[in-house]
């Protein structure tokens, strides 16, 4: 498998580093609007499918039964920065299920957000599982278990009904087969299933349009997309790509990162889903890829201009001197209209 070079990192006038990758843009009927690289090879989507993993929480009625707010539903789809607002919302979700941080199986780590991490240190504290960037998703799993009457213990295991429900939702929406051979363990200890980019893009086109989904699932998808659009800071955090892009475009653009260079996205107004993977796992490359692809399909000049700093960011050094830039290359550069 040799995917093309799609992002170059310039220092001065020279290419210092280069990223290879693959990407697919697909409509809800499965028609490929644009693709490059190997899009039928399964890749682990990691956190990029949190919106899919949270479908059972909403679709089952558990979110309503516990009166989860839109911000809390957005947090269930988040790789959050571990800021105070994120931690409080995760704790509130757990409290609604009659649980607390001790039930979380995601493990603890210092907040992803550097400001949040230093604020915690400054307060003389150490991180709890609530600070884990996946705590909202895990709180959502626990809410689903609580309302469904399932034992919360072991909810992170592939065989638990919570994970079986998540797997079924992902398989149904993407059309991918999620067997043993494509299963591994994610950073937060839940199973992650490798899925082709083509299927991931199709899944997000379906989520964004409701096409091909049962009415209850389509309604859940609408609710989740609206909750995220209304709470972009809950899904990532201040200054982070996902939050800043969705702030710019509101409900017009959905975008979600996954570890190891994955991004999924959707443009509901065009009925398109997107999925990219940088071969080497670099987030900077995946961000440039997904922003460049989204930009390609936006027709308004103002929209395109607003996305340019995300598609081809300048690089500045510690003194603020511009020392280089990222730029699209190969088939990704050719997609620039």
């Amino acid at each position: 498998m040799t995917n093309p070079v799609v992002v170059e990192v310039l220092r001065g006038a020279r290419v210092e580093s280069r990223h290879r990758g693959a990407g697919a843009v697909v409509d809800a009927g499965g028609a490929v609007a644009l693709a490059f690289g190997e899009i039928d090879e399964p890749v682990f989507p990691r956190s990029a499918v949190k919106a899919l993993q949270s479908l059972p929480l909403v679709e089952s009625g558990a979110a309503d039964a516990l009166r989860l707010s839109d911000a809390e539903i957005a947090l269930a789809c988040a790789s959050h920065s571990g800021a105070q607002a994120h931690v409080e919302a995760a704790a509130a979700m757990l409290a609604k299920a009659g649980l607390d941080a001790a039930s979380l199986a995601c493990g603890a780590h210092w907040p992803l957000g550097e400001d949040a991490s230093r604020a915690l240190a400054r307060a003389g504290q150490t991180p709890s599982p609530l600070h884990n960037n996946c705590s909202g998703k895990h709180a959502g799993f626990l809410c689903l278990a609580c309302v469904s009457g399932w034992d919360a213990k072991g909810y992170e295991q592939a065989t638990h009904p919570v994970q079986r429900a998540a797997r079924t939702a992902i398989a149904d929406v993407t059309g991918a087969t999620l067997g043993e051979g494509v299963c591994a363990t994610d950073g937060c200890s839940i199973p992650t299933y490798a899925i082709p980019l083509r299927a991931l893009a199709l899944g997000f086109a379906r989520l964004a349009t409701g096409e091909g989904l049962a009415p209850g699932r389509a309604a859940a998808a609408r609710r989740i997309f609206a909750a995220v659009a209304a709470n972009p800071a809950m899904v990532a955090g201040e200054g982070r790509f996902d939050t800043e892009v969705m702030r710019l475009f509101g409900p017009r653009v959905f975008v979600k990162t996954g570890a190891e260079g994955v991004y999924c996205a959707a443009l509901p107004e065009l009925g398109l889903g997107f999925a990219v993977k940088a071969d080497d796992g670099a987030t900077r490359a995946a961000q440039a890829m997904i922003a460049t692809l989204i930009r390609r399909f936006l027709t308004g000049e103002e929209d395109r201009t607003r996305l340019s700093p995300f598609a081809a960011p300048n690089l500045r050094n510690w003194n603020g001197i511009e020392v280089g830039a990222l730029r699209a290359a190969g088939p990704l550069a050719e997609t620039r209209a």
Copy 2:
């Protein structure tokens, strides 16, 4: 240019990400002991050549004139973690030159070391240029300027005598031509010159052996290597690759990271220099590459065993569960004896 895949990142039984790259192992006479990928294409070595950049400081007699300690000379070759010991040593170097942090042109950033960064936050402080990972190198530049009677101002500019001396040392030792076309600006605002991996490896073989160097320069190289070997924690910091590898092997192994996936190294006992670059700029890949290459040339089984966790580290998640590993691939895997 298509370099081979040399490091694979496994999650469970599947390859999740892959890194391409090039590498060269060269003796002081220029004979290539081992190579893969494009080794004649210039790459920015960034901080991997700090030992070369510090040659004029020692060779000129400036280090002795200011009575720099071995720990301070090691810090001049460092990309340090910004821990208290690093900050204090950088300040002491500046004081010996009659200067202070205000003279540093490297810019300020939060300490590279996560523990050091949180400790600074916990103390309610913010970073100064002394915390910049390059502050020791910059303090060394200022010491050289001070003893040489050069105006300290503008010492980071390519036209300043300090940078001209560094460029001459790098060009002489590596044999590379460092013209305008290969010059860009580094993260700490000094010039960085792109150099082929073959020439970088040759340069480190010469540094490690003194072969092909004038006696004064060979003595300076010996002094620098000995200073680093005696102070591995000054060159990086606790828990970091360079420090931990050099702690294991003492003067037998020199290894230094550079940004964007570069490593240079030397095995003085075998008279070999090493240089690698991960195409995508990933440090994890460059570390696996350089450790695998060094391991290849170590004949003792115990030595090889001690390097294995650096060459092919296991990946654990937030709960400490082993979820994957890095492993050498392609021509790098074939180099395993």
